[in-house]
């Protein structure tokens, strides 16, 4: 068995996600919060990685992630995405459902144009 130090950052992410998915299958539902889970993954892996974690919700679990990654953002719907906004650094951050925002065309294009966050 490889020591954890010998694993790459991406491999560690896969190991953690496997633990979470397994825990959701064999035990009570798991609530998982993960800050930018896509950081160390290759582009071709991001979509299926996030989808696998989201499937935990089918068994009553919850997966809450923050991300700027287009592939991750696209794996959520307008009703399962919260936009975090604050006017200045002195004011509190306010979460609002993406479905409350109107945007034209592709979501990622709208985010790049700063139509939603900006």
């Amino acid at each position: 068995m490889r020591r954890s130090k010998a694993l790459s950052q991406g491999e560690k992410c896969f190991f953690l996600s496997a633990c979470i998915i397994t825990a959701n299958v064999v035990g009570p539902p798991v609530v998982c919060t993960w800050d930018e889970p896509d950081n160390h993954l290759s582009l071709s892996q991001v979509g299926q990685f996030i989808t696998a974690l989201r499937k935990g919700a089918n068994r009553g679990g919850q997966f809450i992630a923050t991300s700027h990654h287009p592939e991750t953002v696209r794996k959520f719907s307008d009703e399962t995405t919260f936009v975090l906004k604050r006017k200045t650094h002195q004011e509190p951050t306010l979460p609002r459902l993406l479905s409350e925002f109107k945007y034209d065309g592709d979501l990622i294009d709208a985010l790049i144009r700063d139509e939603i966050i900006g």
Partner: protein, 161 residues
């Protein structure tokens, strides 16, 4: 060996959310389904298919492409455009499906989010009955769907019902 893949080209963001809900079904093997960036309307879906995916289908004989579009009340004409563009020898691996009008009408009529509708569509495909596929906004896909569902089912689902 390169495993078989199903590429989904959504016509717009609403179709992307439908497809996203579909792959959340527990039995769908999400490693085999790749939902691509939404095109900007059905004409772009067709362009992407002809420019990019015909070559992929020729190269990888186990791959399939599903084009998910809005028919905007123009089913016969739009379907004919796709039939014309899909080469004869790839018709068994290139499919076009979508709501009669657009997915937003489906959300209003079914009272569910696009993602939840996608999940229900996967459930119908996996174990039936066709409660959502049979909706009047989707029923026109019946004839077109029997073939692709049978073809992609072994790739799509990691266990069989």
């Amino acid at each position: 060996m390169y495993p078989p893949h199903i590429f989904v080209i959504p016509g717009d963001d609403a179709n992307r959310q439908l497809a996203g809900g579909f792959i959340l079904h527990d039995q769908v093997d999400a490693r085999r389904v790749d939902v691509k960036t939404p095109a900007r309307g059905w004409r772009h879906v067709l362009e992407i298919f002809t420019d990019v995916y015909i070559k992929i289908l020729v190269q990888h004989r186990q791959d399939h492409v599903v084009m998910l579009i809005d028919f905007d009340g123009d089913y016969d004409a739009r379907r004919a455009e796709f039939e014309k563009a899909i080469p004869e020898d790839l018709k068994s691996r290139g499919f076009v499906v979508g709501p009669k009008q657009n997915p937003e009408i489906l959300t209003n009529k079914l009272g569910k989010s696009l993602e939840r509708i996608g999940l229900s569509l996967a459930h119908d495909c996996f174990s039936g009955p066709d409660s959502v596929w049979g909706h009047e906004q989707l029923g026109h896909n019946d004839a077109d769907l029997k073939r692709p569902v049978e073809v992609v089912r072994p790739i799509l689902f990691d266990v069989q019902p």
